[in-house]
């Protein structure tokens, strides 16, 4: 009887011990994956975002040197690689080569929703929730996160890649100026038309396309036959140097896919000097 009792006690202890061991093993595995992912993300951020200006300026210099290449310079760089057991797709982009939604909202608040619907090719559900607190009114930034513009939850459920693609053309950060070396012809024409008129836009576009003369901003503006007020408005709209960059990372692990977005160089939002970060 005692022997049987001891056997039962041993069996119960073994099963309890097994459960704990299994839990420990699962937690250790999760901790290992978390550490690997964290290490990978920090490495990616340091390698890509921290050196974004250098990468994009190098591509711009190539165009200045090589006569066979023409403007605009690349404004987006895509990377895809494996690190450890994770698969990473990254998009590094110049925020000054995208439409700034806060600027668009400021200039045309009534048409904003319709404009946005078209700009996103209707791929992403739009839910506008501007921040109307006094603090944001002071900074003229009613939109500071994609959650205020799009239905993030619904988008990620339906089509997660749409979010990355749509936001490769739009931004909420930066000072609102467009980099004249990196925006495409259509964007240059539209923005210049809004700032000056169609004539000013055509002249600016022609100047950039002219391969006989080196296109330099803002010096090249002086060569154009434009009124002083038009030149001033164009200087306020465009810039030759970018200061704000974004890095979008899609990290696929064994069990789930995570998305990360970092914005570097946005003075208004990152008081600590570190990149603004969104993780989900």
């Amino acid at each position: 009887m005692m022997t049987l009792t001891l056997i039962v006690i041993a069996a119960l202890s073994l099963s309890g011990f097994t459960r704990k061991s299994l839990r420990l093993a699962v937690e250790a595995k999760e901790a290992e994956e978390t550490l690997q992912r964290k290490w990978a993300l920090i490495s990616i951020r340091k390698a890509l975002l921290d050196r974004a200006a250098e990468r994009f300026d190098h591509l711009k210099d190539q165009i200045e040197i090589d006569e066979d290449l023409s403007w605009p310079a690349p404004a987006k760089l895509a990377f895809e690689f494996m690190l450890g057991s994770g698969h990473y797709r990254c998009m590094l982009s110049d925020e000054h080569a995208k439409w700034n939604l806060n600027e668009v909202y400021r200039s045309e608040p009534d048409r904003f929703r319709a404009w946005l619907w078209e700009a996103t090719d209707r791929r992403v559900p739009v839910i506008l929730r501007p921040d109307r607190s006094p603090e944001t009114k002071l900074r003229s930034r009613p939109y500071s996160s994609w959650g205020q513009v799009f239905d993030i939850r619904e988008t990620l459920r339906r089509d997660a890649t749409a979010m990355g693609e749509v936001t490769s053309r739009l931004t909420l950060w930066g000072d609102g100026k467009l980099n004249v070396y990196r925006i495409d012809d259509r964007m240059l024409s539209e923005a210049a038309t809004q700032a000056g008129d169609r004539d000013a836009a055509e002249k600016l576009l022609e100047s950039r396309r002219d391969t006989n003369i080196s296109f330099v901003w803002p010096d090249g503006l002086d060569r154009l036959d434009l009124r002083r007020t038009e030149k001033l408005r164009l200087r306020r709209t465009f810039t030759g140097e970018s200061t704000c960059y974004a890095l979008w990372v899609e990290a696929r692990g064994k069990h789930r896919t995570r998305h990360h977005l970092w914005i570097a160089g946005d003075q208004a939002s990152s008081g600590s000097g570190r990149p603004l970060a969104f993780h989900w």
């Binding site: 022997t3 001891l6 011990f17 704990k20 420990l24 939850r153 990152s270």
Partner: protein, 188 residues
């Protein structure tokens, strides 16, 4: 008569002795196994100091601090300003302030978590969620080792301060020598 006698056969002394020795050997082996199990259990417990409530709170704070841009607070409330709003377990990336508050009741105190959406016309203050019992105060700031901890930690930050790359939070109970819970955040 002869068959009745044969069916009621008893055990001999040798058989009883053999059975006793076998039982003793089996019990000795089982006791040895149980002792070994106990030792291994103690080793596993030593490697698993975190209770399930601590793991859950780790995950919540990690998620909150990942999307925090600035913080402020006192000994009874910590405010994390950023985009930490979560609805049905999914992040919304809406501007929100996550508040960790110490609320005192009749003879007890609780740490409570609440999310307040920022700036929308129908500004919502989310339902309060009980986090940890017997919390009397909160301290936060950069992690500091040793005796200088209590003195160096900032107990009152009254204006929004950008969140540093390393940031720690301590929840204290009655015992002032050791916090009930500590979490250190490392930004990605």
């Amino acid at each position: 008569m002869m068959s009745d006698q044969n069916s009621i056969r008893g055990m001999t002394a040798v058989e009883v002795l053999a059975a006793t020795v076998l039982a003793a050997l089996l019990m000795t082996a089982l006791i040895g196994v149980l002792r070994g199990l106990k030792a291994q259990q103690a080793a596993v417990d030593a490697r698993m100091p975190t209770a399930s409530w601590e793991l859950a709170l780790d995950r919540t704070l990690k998620r909150d601090l990942e999307n925090t841009i600035a913080y402020e607070g006192t000994e009874s409330v910590l405010k994390l300003h950023g985009y930490g709003d979560v609805v049905e377990g999914e992040r919304t990336w809406l501007p929100a302030t996550v508040l960790y508050e110490v609320r005192k009741g009749k003879g007890s105190s609780w740490l409570v978590r609440r999310v307040a959406q920022r700036g929308s016309p129908d500004e919502r203050s989310g339902a309060a969620e009980l986090v940890l019992a017997e919390v009397r105060r909160i301290t936060f700031g950069l992690p500091v080792e040793g005796e200088a901890r209590t003195a160096a930690e900032k107990n009152a930050v009254t204006s929004k301060t950008p969140l540093p790359a390393r940031f720690s939070v301590h929840f204290w109970g009655e015992d002032v020598s050791q916090p009930l819970y500590t979490f250190t955040h490392h930004a990605l």
